[in-house]
């Protein structure tokens, strides 16, 4: 193994490569174990974890250099050689640690603060553990990465507030109703923008929605997707009082709901709270509706503004996130090198022991007449000589390797360890 920092992170993400390249490089979950085995057996990679998501494909390895991974990606036709030079990023040592910590903390994600990446990295780590391509160094690295991600989330606002229109809509519903389980939803119109919000609400446990459209046929088609109930627009008056949450997404150029419609519905609902989310452009719900007691109206502009404000708040915290990541990275780097230090001390002693024993064997072969006592004296002298010669390097190694991460590499090179 190369004595210099041998932790390498190599890959592409949404910033470095277009989606077509990422698609080509993507490794399906079922194929990750065989890729890991191949890297270890055919490309001389010591430890390896493969992370493949919709926005990134990364290899975190212990290797002599990035060359084995370059060969792997080119030979297996994930990338052309020129693409590798242009699109792939390579981090080594402390930078590789810092990069991984940023990825797991969702700082490097397309949506800063998103929560999926932590689960994806944990899954990648778990797979590598099962295949057996994780040993002590990557184990330390990933455990520290998960710990750091937890610190980033708890000590900053990076994960606070929702940043997509759908999730802001759900957050709004939770502010009105608390738990959303068993709440009823009415979707007016079949616009695609409502789909995300409907799915997000269904994930929170709302009942199967009413889907209202101009024609029963169209309403039935969309209702079938959600196991919901189709309604024709002309029957809206009867259905509106049954809904706790109303999503409006049509292309109509006029208001579909006004204060009179809502007053009628609220009487029938016994004035129970009602949330209306109007994501149509132009608006389909008269803004005057918001003045009614227990009726809460939000339109697409307001939702987008809330999402943008939340995203800005997350980004304001990025500096603090990087401070946490930088400290944690240095701590992890030192810890990984301490592990290497222990190995280096053992290797150095072993190397000196080998030389001592070889020279003693040669000496005793040439000196036949030595008795047992004389042999023991010579062996003890050789051992003392070895210990005195090693004392200086080992003391310096223990003192400096934890603080000066290049010192260890220099000692290894000096004594030819790991070659």
């Amino acid at each position: 193994m190369h004595p210099e920092s041998d932790l390498i992170a190599i890959g592409v993400n949404h910033k470095s490569a277009p989606v077509e390249v990422r698609e080509r490089m993507a490794i399906p979950l079922g194929q990750v174990p065989s890729v890991l085995r191949t890297l270890r057996s055919e490309y001389d990679v010591g430890e390896a974890v493969v992370l493949s998501t919709c926005n990134r494909v990364e290899f975190h390895v212990i290797a002599e250099s990035p060359d084995p991974l370059r060969r792997f990606l080119v030979e297996r036709q994930f990338l052309a050689p020129k693409q590798f030079e242009e699109l792939v990023y390579i981090h080594r040592g402390l930078d590789a640690i810092r990069h991984l910590f940023a990825v797991v903390s969702s700082i490097d994600s397309m949506v800063v603060g998103e929560t999926e990446i932590l689960g994806q990295v944990k899954r990648a780590y778990q797979m590598a553990s099962e295949v057996g391509t994780i040993a002590s160094r990557l184990h330390i690295l990933f455990q520290e990465a998960f710990r750091t991600a937890g610190q980033v989330r708890s000590r900053t606002h990076i994960a606070h507030g929702r940043v997509s229109v759908s999730s802001v809509a759900v957050e709004l519903a939770e502010k009105v109703f608390g738990e959303l389980e068993s709440r009823s939803v009415l979707v007016i119109g079949t616009g695609e923008t409502a789909t995300g919000a409907v799915k997000a609400l269904l994930a929170r446990g709302v009942r199967a929605p009413y889907i209202a459209s101009r024609t029963l046929e169209r309403a039935s088609e969309i209702a079938a997707l959600y196991d919901g109930c189709p309604v024709v627009l002309s029957e809206l008056d009867a259905t509106l009082p049954k809904a706790d949450i109303v999503l409006v997404s049509t292309g109509a150029p006029h208001y579909l709901l006004g204060p009179e419609d809502l007053q009628r519905a609220m009487r029938l609902r016994r004035n129970a709270p009602l949330l209306i989310i109007d994501i149509s452009v132009p608006r389909n719900v008269d803004p005057a509706v918001n003045k009614l007691d227990n009726v809460y109206l939000s339109n697409i502009d307001e939702l987008q503004e809330i999402a943008a404000q939340n995203l800005t708040k997350r980004q304001l915290d990025l500096d603090q996130c990087w401070t946490i990541i930088d400290k944690a990275s240095l701590r992890c780097y030192t810890r990984m090198h301490s592990l290497a230090l222990g190995g280096a001390v053992v290797d150095l002693r072993s190397a000196f022991d080998r030389v001592r024993e070889q020279e003693l064997d040669r000496l005793f072969k040439n000196l036949d007449g030595l008795d047992e006592g004389q042999r023991r004296d010579i062996e003890r002298m050789a051992e003392r000589l070895q210990n005195r010669l090693l004392h200086g390097p080992l003391s310096a190694l223990r003192k400096k390797a934890g603080r000066d991460v290049h010192f260890l590499a220099a000692v290894k090179r000096l004594f030819g360890l790991g070659e």
């Binding site: 009105v176 109703f177 608390g178 004035n271 007691d293 809460y296 939000s298």
Partner: protein
């Protein structure tokens, strides 16, 4: 200083600290802060319970013989209801709105320590129940008012599409409105019992309950909450209107207490 007086100051300290933690919990919400606040309130409650028990043991009667004791009992009910609510249907940030009032009342109680008490020998159990249910009812209205204020704030934030820590710290409007109604209902039943017993006692003692201004003010309070209960039950008013009525009702309750402090009538003179 008697032991119960010392314990009241301990109680005050517990509630004051709990208030601080609750306010911090609104600025930077986390479960630990909520837990600490609730534990501090519970510890204050324990000290308070011991204090009241000492009074009862020392005097051989329930503590309702002067303003100090009555206010102390009111405080005890107020905190007991708060803890019961937190155990049954925990509301986020309710301590931040309710505990300042609790702390203020606790400070008043601590300041009144040492007040002389009337001779309550011969006082019937009906009088004790009348007093106890009145205090329980008033405590429920105080808690309901705090929850109603939280509703008004959250409702206003939602109407204005406001984002920020306060909106995130508060429970949903649905929960706040629903619980206000339940607490008001509980207080209303308690006050109804108290009022009924009070009119009976006044009739037996002074002959004309209508001459007792405490009775008239209590009826006024009862009427406010009767209207509120009715409109909420029929769903004629929900949300903001009902919340404002709850707050007005509590203001009437506070007015009744203030009047008692300065102008006690025949039957409630021991409170002056």
């Amino acid at each position: 200083m008697l032991v119960d007086h010392g314990l009241m100051f301990t109680t005050l300290g517990g509630y004051a600290l709990a208030t601080v933690w609750s306010e911090l919990g609104v600025v930077a919400p986390n479960r630990f802060r909520t837990w600490v606040s609730t534990v501090l309130v519970a510890l204050g409650m324990v000290a308070h319970t011991i204090a009241l028990s000492i009074i009862a043991a020392r005097t051989g009667r329930l503590p309702m013989a002067n303003l100090y004791e009555v206010l102390s009992l009111f405080l005890w009910f107020a905190v007991a209801l708060f803890l019961a609510l937190q155990l049954w249907r925990p509301l986020r940030a309710v301590g931040a709105f309710y505990l300042p009032l609790v702390t203020a009342v606790a400070a008043g109680v601590a300041a009144l320590a040492g007040q002389s008490a009337i001779d309550t020998r011969g006082r019937s159990i009906i009088v004790v129940i009348h007093g106890g249910t009145a205090l329980l009812g008033f405590a429920a209205f105080a808690l309901a008012a705090a929850v109603a204020v939280m509703f008004l704030i959250q409702d206003g934030l939602l109407k204005r599409h406001s984002t920020g820590r306060l909106g995130a710290a508060l429970s949903s409007v649905s929960q706040l409105e629903g619980l206000t109604y339940v607490i008001v209902g509980f207080g209303f039943i308690s006050l109804t019992i108290s009022l009924g017993l009070g009119i009976y006692i006044a009739g037996q003692t002074v002959g004309e309950w209508a001459t007792q201004h405490t009775a008239l003010l209590s009826i006024a309070t009862w009427l406010v909450f009767a209207v509120l209960f009715h409109v909420r039950l029929t769903s004629a008013w929900r949300g903001r209107k009902a919340a404002w009525l709850t707050v007005v009702g509590f203001a009437v309750v506070a007015a009744v207490f203030a009047v008692l402090l300065f102008t006690a009538d025949t039957l409630h003179g021991f409170l002056g």
